[in-house]
């Protein structure tokens, strides 16, 4: 009986003459499917789930399933890409890649490989956006040999250096190959446009990011996030729940959490701004078109209606987009729309098709047309019924595998959803009306806000993409790694000469003035090249040696103050104030030595506290120079002195920048003598070869004193 309505729907949406649909209704009884009467569906018997929390805070979800003689484990550990420290892009990927192969403190990765292969067992690790996964699988008969190894992976992985290096090699390979698969390109660029390139939901790592990561970073990540109270462990399979609980309690008895769970900041999201984007990829025989905008959370009260709307629009064989773009127009093999809700952040609403270059605009327009239409008039009763029936009739499949059930429950537990969320969702789906669908189509589907990406060969498109709006070209060229420094082996001679050169430079700068230096106050103009264009900013800076800085700038948005006070740093802008994270403090501290023509460094050199190695003559910004490599903490930096060692020309070093780790070059000029010290009045800062800032001082004063108020932190107004 349902079929008649469905036929009417299909006919209507496909703009077939109404007469056709009436004929369909008359003809329908001949359809043999209409005669079928289905027996009642056997009951779904959800398996019993045993939920426990171990004394150390680890949550357990256990499901017995004696169908097959095997046991499957899966641990979800809080902390994924979203927990990467700033400036450590790629950490989560490297962590996941080196975790399993790097072995445990008890067994090397290779020994684990041998053992598991002999047992026919598996242990695997990966890191997703918001959590890590350690999974395992074994024949029941081998459980007692496999479980201790599995537990060790959660508690005490080794991240052996050689396997970290190998994992880095593999990640470099993955970077090199990331443009080979067009679907991967499409998904990645879509996420960047929706969440922002820096978001954990979109973040991409480069060669230099991988190069900068160390084994210590991985161990620190594990120490911080892999703790029993951040872990949900599921076990499903051929065991008795009570016995399994005892085994797990024993296996993880030594695992303890200390202190409160670390806070992971929630990534901000914002509604997508509509855009037309083009990616050139000349090996494609089709244009791959993806269109998407920010969606909603799974627990949004309107998600059930959005789910059905999306199904009607692009969800299957009978969906509007499939019928129109594929079946009727023959434009594509793939033509679909989807909604993927997030559990704790807004997900994505998207559409995808791929077509030959000569029908790019046609397929794009046809898809957009369907998206617009669903916002203009209610869907038909038949469409709604089809989508609902599909969901409700397919509900039994939510229980057809123990793995599916246990994974779903673990997800609910992880994100704090009720364990019967899927039942509630089903009930809510049942209640959705046509009016709901029109309402959410208008409220939650925004064709004008779609980030549209076309990947292919624009020279063959039927119409230029600019027909649809201003086109932004995305360059997917993979940035090459920086040439690696092959640091010359330090010799007693090169070390002695390094020291001599620095001391000579210090003496030329003014030995007595350096020794008596307490503070430096400078005023001037900074020309900053920002993504919005060049900006001239007046500012005043006070540097109290060795590690306090007060920097004030007048910006178009008002006064901005940045303060480093020994181990703390903060920023204020108008009413708003925020602390800077430890990584930023570290970065500010590591840049202090360059202030005032490396005054601090030269003073330390005079005191014999600097390890410096002369690397010989070099060119620096076109001038003849002596290259001196100075070891600051664990980081080498290059200090360039004029050929006579009379002046510091500049500094080259790796630093954290807003775009990630990058080479920063500062050069100094316009030296003048102030109170017995030669200081540069001009400096230029380049990041990856591009000038980011030029500073011209109008006045520099030494030991002029300062007010302690500069370093008093104003009472914080709540951050907005």
């Amino acid at each position: 009986m349902r079929i008649n309505q469905a036929l009417v729907m299909v006919a209507a949406l496909a703009s077939v003459a109404l007469a056709g649909s009436l004929a369909a209704a008359e003809r329908a009884p001949k359809n043999p499917v209409d005669r079928l009467v289905y027996p009642k569906l056997h009951d779904i018997k959800p398996p019993a789930v045993v939920r426990e929390t171990l004394p150390n805070g680890m949550k357990l979800l256990l499901i017995e399933d004696h169908d097959l003689p095997e046991v499957v484990f899966r641990a979800l550990v809080r902390g994924g890409v979203d927990a990467e420290p700033k400036g450590e892009r790629g950490l989560a990927a490297l962590f996941g890649a080196a975790y399993r192969s790097g072995g445990t403190t008890a067994m090397s990765g290779d020994q684990v490989d041998e053992l598991l292969d002999r047992l026919g067992a598996e242990i695997d690790t990966s890191v997703a956006e918001e959590y890590g996964v350690v999974s395992g699988k074994t024949l029941t008969e081998n459980l007692d040999r496999m479980l201790p190894v599995y537990a060790d992976f959660l508690m005490s992985p080794a991240f052996a250096q050689d396997k970290v290096d190998l994992a880095k090699t593999h990640l470099r390979g993955a970077i090199a190959r990331r443009n080979d698969q067009v679907f991967a390109v499409a998904g990645r660029e879509m996420r960047k446009l929706i969440y922002g390139a820096d978001s954990p939901f979109a973040r991409q790592y480069e060669y230099d990011d991988i190069d900068a990561l160390t084994r210590a970073d991985l161990l620190a990540f594990h120490r911080t996030y892999y703790r029993p109270d951040g872990t949900i462990l599921t076990a499903a399979g051929d065991f008795k729940a009570g016995e399994m609980k005892a085994k797990l309690a024993k296996a993880f008895a030594g695992w303890k959490a200390s202190g409160p769970l670390p806070v992971i900041p929630r990534p901000a999201t914002a509604p997508t701004t509509g855009s037309i984007n083009y990616v050139e990829k000349k090996d494609l025989e089709q244009t791959f078109i993806i269109m998407a905008h920010l969606g909603m959370r799974l627990d949004d009260p309107d998600y059930p209606a959005v789910n059905l709307m999306s199904e009607i629009l692009g969800g299957g064989f009978a969906s509007r987009i499939f019928v129109n773009v594929r079946t009727k127009k023959g434009l594509a093999y793939n033509a679909s729309g989807w909604t993927s809700p997030g559990m704790d952040h807004p997900g994505v609403v998207g559409f995808f098709t791929s077509t030959k270059p000569e029908t790019t605009a046609e397929a794009l327009a046809a898809t957009l047309e369907e998206i617009r239409k669903i916002r203009e008039a209610p869907v038909t009763d038949a469409e709604l019924k089809r989508a609902k029936d599909g969901y409700l009739n397919g509900y039994a499949f939510e229980y057809d595998s123990t793995a599916k059930i246990v994974d779903r429950l673990a997800g609910y537990e992880f994100y704090g959803y009720p364990q019967d969320f899927n039942v509630k969702l089903r009930d809510a789906i049942e209640r959705v009306t046509k009016e709901d669908i029109l309402r959410v189509a208008q409220k939650d589907l925004h064709p004008e806000n779609l980030a549209i990406i076309a990947i292919g060969r624009a020279d063959q498109f039927d119409k230029p993409l600019s027909t649809f709006g201003k086109v932004n070209t995305i360059d997917i060229t993979i940035p090459e790694p920086k040439p690696k420094e092959t640091a010359a082996e330090a010799t007693p001679e090169s070390l002695a000469r390094g020291r001599t050169l620095l001391v000579a430079a210090a003496k030329a700068a003014g030995e007595a003035a350096l020794a008596g230096l307490k503070d430096i106050t400078s005023e001037g103009v900074t020309t900053a090249n920002t993504p919005m264009g060049a900006m001239e900013l007046n500012g005043k800076a006070t540097f109290v040696l060795p590690d306090r800085v007060h920097n004030e700038m007048v910006t178009p948005m008002g006064a901005m103050v940045q303060v480093l006070d020994r181990d703390a740093a903060w920023m204020t802008m108008g009413e708003r104030q925020r602390s800077l994270p430890p990584s930023a403090v570290e970065e500010m501290r590591s840049g202090l030595f360059t202030e005032a023509g490396c005054a601090l460094l030269l003073r330390e050199a005079l005191a014999g506290k600097v390890t410096a190695q002369a690397l010989g003559k070099a060119k620096f910004e076109g001038r003849d120079a002596e290259d001196v490599q100075v070891q600051l903490g664990d980081k080498p930096v290059h200090v360039y002195l004029s050929a006579d060692a009379g002046e510091v020309l500049g500094v080259r070093r790796m630093a954290q920048t807003p775009e990630g780790p990058a080479e920063v070059v500062e050069s100094f000029g316009a030296y003048q003598t102030v109170a017995g010290l030669r200081v540069p009045f001009e400096s230029t800062e380049k990041v990856k070869g591009e000038v980011k800032a030029e500073i011209k001082a109008t006045s520099i004063k030494l030991n002029a004193g300062y007010s302690e108020d500069l370093f008093k932190r104003p009472a914080a107004a709540p951050a907005k």
Binding site: P69, A121, D400
Partner: protein, 509 residues
């Protein structure tokens, strides 16, 4: 409707008795083989049922013993085209007025045949006439389209809760599959009976456009491009040389009558196997299946292909210059799946490449660090003599040549150094685990049974594979390696990276 390459290996399976010796606790796992019910319907269609009532769902497979290997010149891609057409409906499903629609389709066919003849006209076609016929075809399609209920089969199945509705065509088979809530078995049987008794190949010429897009989509993937060029180098005679989806020219030229003839020849009940795994009761299901699937006309069992691949004389090689990253395939001819040594080949893939402690993984990934990934497989064509394929994905900065050399070293080592007791133990453990994986889902089990029944002549082979693997000795492995992995028997295909070629075709618009 996907043309996906199947990598189902006939999942190295264990005789349950053997397994049970060591693992008595997995209750539902017992007697799996004895629970299978088979019946050949009077029309010749073989039905295989396996009741597993743990959830109220069922998975169904209809396996047609026909694939790309059965195609000929002018008709490559025909197996896959028919697969698409099997979703287009019947005389009663997918139409508002079959009588009128049928007339309209006849006009479509007449115009198409005239158009095809004109396009092929020698020395050259009359372009004006081609244009005119194209417009006429468009008109005829629109006329026929008036009676079409688009995708009604798919719509019905999805509405009733169907999951994973799809089909695939490979070298050896065409397989239609999906799952349903278990109370709707009769829906599946009714639709299968209808579409394999009197399918209507409606929207034929539009659907060929869709298939051409599918081919373009495939060709936008580097390894697809490589295989597409690699297979005709590896095979000179066997139709394994033609990469399933067919040549663009054939896709353009194939007519609806060609596809109808294909159906008539290969879709008789005698050439079909239907497998149902899940919450199914054979006592009630079998009479219903006889009533429905039993209606499909018996047809004839088409004979196997006559063409045999002759022995290879010397090493063959193909280099594809491409903007994508390096990749290497190394293939050796091997016998069909029915060869007594087939289990030895399976054992070799296990020993070399299944797991992180295997010889290839150790050599290429862990020790020499030349590859990001490496593997071996034998599933590209199984019914007739096929290929034992190795592949490697070089690390950044490493080359195909380095990977190739490393693979040859592993192969020579295999010929020289018998597998150890540890390796044998690992191999058998892996086969057990793989067998469990294969039966973990209803669909996986249904596929295994259908493949074994057709490729090996008996679904029971699913449960015998581990026995066969158990019988493999280190000497067998050496003997087969020495016999197979010789230079004159191999074809090597690589992707060598070149900077992007300048855009071809018309200038920017």
């Amino acid at each position: 409707m996907k043309d996906r390459m199947r990598h189902v290996r006939l999942l190295g399976a264990a005789a349950p008795f053997l397994l049970l010796a060591g693992m008595a606790s997995g209750q539902g796992f017992k007697d799996l083989e004895r629970q299978v019910v088979e019946k050949t319907l009077p029309n010749g269609l073989k039905v295989i049922l396996l009741p597993r009532p743990s959830a109220p769902v069922i998975s169904m497979v209809t396996y047609a013993d026909v694939g790309g290997v059965d195609e000929n010149q002018n008709a490559t891609g025909l197996a896959h085209i028919f697969e698409h057409m099997a979703f287009k409906g019947t005389t009663t499903i997918g139409t508002t007025d079959y009588a009128k629609e049928s007339e309209a389709m006849k006009r479509e066919d007449q115009v198409f045949l005239a158009l095809r003849a004109e396009r092929l006209h020698r020395p050259k076609p009359d372009e004006a006439k081609v244009k005119q016929l194209e417009a006429a075809l468009k008109q005829a399609e629109d006329d026929a389209g008036k009676y079409v209920v688009p995708n009604e089969i798919g719509e019905i199945i999805e509405r009733e809760g169907g999951q994973g509705l799809n089909a695939f065509t490979s070298f050896d088979q065409t397989v239609y599959h999906y799952s349903l809530p278990s109370n709707k078995l009769e829906l599946w049987a009714t639709i299968e009976a209808e579409r394999f008794s009197h399918p209507v190949l409606r929207e034929f010429y539009k659907e060929k456009d869709v298939i051409m897009e599918e081919k373009r989509m495939g060709q936008s993937q580097p390894t697809y491009r490589l295989l597409d060029d690699f297979m005709p180098v590896a095979f000179k005679a066997s139709m394994y040389r033609s990469f399933v989806i067919g040549h663009m020219s054939d896709l353009r030229g194939i007519s609806r009558d060609d596809a109808k003839a294909w159906f008539a020849k290969y879709y008789g009940a005698k050439n079909l196997t239907s497998v149902i795994v899940g919450d199914v009761d054979p006592a009630t299901a079998l009479p219903m299946l006889a009533r429905t699937l039993g209606r499909i006309p018996p047809g004839e069992k088409p004979g196997p292909v006559i063409t045999e691949e002759p022995p290879q004389r010397a090493e063959k090689r193909i280099t594809m210059e491409d903007p994508s990253q390096p990749f290497v395939f190394i293939a050796y001819h091997k016998p069909a799946i029915t060869d007594p040594d087939n289990a030895v080949y399976d054992a070799i893939t296990d020993v070399l490449a299944e797991g992180r402690s295997t010889r290839m993984y150790k050599a290429l990934v862990k020790e020499k660090k030349v590859a990001l990934a490496t593997g071996a497989f034998t599933e590209l064509g199984q019914k007739y003599p096929g290929l034992f394929m190795f592949y490697a994905v070089p690390n950044k900065g490493r080359t195909n040549a380095e990977c190739e050399a490393a693979i040859y070293e592993v192969i020579e080592d295999l010929k020289a150094r018998p597998v150890t007791a540890d390796e044998l133990e690992a191999l058998k453990a892996k086969e057990k685990a793989k067998f469990l994986d294969s039966i973990d889902s209803n669909m996986g089990m249904a596929m295994s049974l259908a493949f074994a029944e057709n490729l090996e002549g008996d679904w029971r082979e699913t449960f015998r594979d581990l026995d066969k693997i158990d019988a493999v000795t280190p000497a067998d492995i050496q003997r087969v390696a020495v016999k197979t992995f010789v230079k004159s028997n191999r074809t090597v295909g690589t992707i060598e990276t070149v900077a992007e070629k300048p855009a071809e075709g018309p200038a920017a618009k």
